[in-house]
Symmetry: C2
């Protein structure tokens, strides 16, 4: 019964810098100097104060410090949804970066809803935040303008497009990643390669489709429009579109999915038809979320260094916070193809 009862009885007032000063028989500014390791305190005084600080278990109030120096020690990470492993990788990267810098991460989910976004903006603008990292923002958003207007530093991760050249951002090589995935499938002997893509409004969807087209064209192959299936970056899109693909008179022998989640949907569609991956159908994903390594079979996929993207975004933000210049407004991290067990040569020639 110790814990909570203690808590309720010991409703003692918080120990402040004034209490320390009193106990150490010095003035408040002197304690402040000791706390902040500033010069101008006699050695003996300093030691006495330090001892009192320990004895009293004094910890300075963040709120008071914030009010004085205008820094809150918290950075906002703003995401649309908390529904995919993709976002969690980025979160982990940002948390790590912020933690190293001694900053806290406030996580906000907007659900792409105006109301939540407004409320978030209020929070940010009331100076509860030193800066912000926005995932999947689009350039048209009022948000960005509002942030800029209020002088809140921010950087965008994996933007949806339409960003001004002056907006700090970090992304990945979507085009190159899609191209190399397609080339790999080609090298295995596939000629009928379908693409399941993301929302057409996203720049990354567009870039990946271009990479896919480029690989086919370089191989002298036509791009079959029925093989290109846009959708959302979710499981259902993978399932539905692959089912439709398999109903084609000439079904593809390989599917390149725009996300690993979609790729799991491709697996499901294949299973429903009694098709074995990779024997009957080859599959490549995009992202390389942790789940892909443990999928059945393990998924060959284009790795986006999501955690690193979060780390880089954090570094950029830290420079902004320190008024240091950025080496480049846009940072693009390389993707890489991770070979696992979901691809094989096509069955029939």
């Amino acid at each position: 019964v110790p814990l909570m009862s203690e808590k309720s009885t010991v409703a003692e007032r918080r120990c402040t810098i004034a209490d320390v000063a009193l106990a150490a028989c010095v003035s408040v500014p002197t304690v402040s100097k000791v706390l902040n390791n500033q010069n101008g305190v006699a050695k003996a005084t300093r030691e006495r104060v330090q001892q009192v600080i320990v004895e009293l278990g004094y910890v300075s109030s963040r709120a008071a410090r914030s009010l004085r120096n205008g820094q809150t020690g918290v950075v906002d990470l703003v995401v649309l949804r908390l529904d995919s492993p993709y976002i969690f990788e980025i979160i982990a990267g940002v948390e790590e970066g912020l933690s190293r810098a001694g900053l806290r991460m406030a996580l906000t989910v907007t659900h792409d809803k105006l109301q939540r976004e407004r409320r978030w903006l209020e929070t940010v603008i009331d100076r509860a935040t030193d800066g912000a990292i926005l995932v999947l923002a689009h350039g048209q958003s009022d948000r960005l303008d509002a942030l800029a207007q209020h002088g809140v530093p921010f950087v965008v991760v994996d933007h949806r497009g339409g960003l001004g050249a002056q907006v700090p951002s970090v992304g990945a090589t979507n085009w190159a990643g899609a191209r190399s995935a397609t080339e790999y499938l080609l090298s295995l002997g596939h000629r009928r390669i379908a693409l399941i893509s993301g929302p057409p409004s996203y720049e990354c969807s567009h870039d990946r489709e271009e990479g896919y087209r480029a690989a086919l064209q370089a191989a002298g192959l036509p791009v079959h429009p029925a093989y290109i299936r846009p959708g959302e970056f979710v499981y259902d899109t993978g399932l539905v579109e692959t089912t439709a693909l398999l109903d084609l008179p000439e079904p593809p022998t390989a599917v390149f999915a725009g996300s690993d989640l979609q790729a799991m949907g491709v697996y499901a569609a294949a299973r429903a038809r009694g098709l074995l991956v990779p024997h009957d159908l080859s599959v490549v994903g995009f992202d390389d979320v942790p789940m892909s390594a443990t999928a059945n079979p393990p998924l060959t996929t284009v790795r986006q260094p999501l955690a690193d993207m979060g780390l880089v975004a954090t570094s950029m933000l830290l420079r902004l916070l320190n008024d240091e210049p950025l080496d480049s407004m846009g940072m693009v991290l390389p993707t890489s193809l991770v070979y696992r067990d979901s691809c094989a040569p096509p069955r029939e020639g």
Copy 2:
């Protein structure tokens, strides 16, 4: 080029309540009253002030308010690691609950490291936080004592055991969940059912093993020690232990895994042996993380209402913050068996 250039040139001072007062030709306290919807302001005055507030785009400073009323508007969510879908479900629940209450969520990862934990404690104790939600804390932790001592309200989700009866916590019915999963396998005709479990030091591991034993004993079946395999709640444990299990002279026909991640490892071990799930080996998981619904095949699993657990923890914390009494110090949410495609009757009778 508009965004960032604006930002750097418009280095104007922040608009304060004094600016509003000046512009509206009233005193600062009057503006404060308008802001907080308090009585004692003439209608005309109120309207004038409100208009100025809008014109100037005034937003009150959180730091100043915090210093006055002692509330920061942020709650800490403390987790060990950011490495499993399990934790993300809880995070989503807590975020939702906090967001509804108009509070922000600061996410901290301790990595189970003392240093990080210390640093986190400093943060919490410097009053940068109104309260905390701890996931997978254990009773022995200094943390809990430190929090209680400093009067920081907190609640523990899915504790590892050893918690005092006076510590607010939320968990799930581990025993019942394990029992019903085992019963289900039994009802399918399985007699050789293995259990892959979590770390023996975790209370939940213990409870689940007891549930498993209870089901076997109720069916008049012996508990085969070689069929009980403790480990970590990760993929590798599932893979390694299942491989060992399949090497037994009498291998099990069904595996009940302590987590869905482990279950994916079971899938992999089966695949490596050319065994088909569920035809050759039945598998039940624990958690029901989103991945399990899209696994290949979709995983039958014991659902823990993880997001709801986060939601409930948040509600409890909010009551604590408002000095309201808790209905119960411990809240235990029901698990439920989710039937999917990873179980079938055993092949041989």
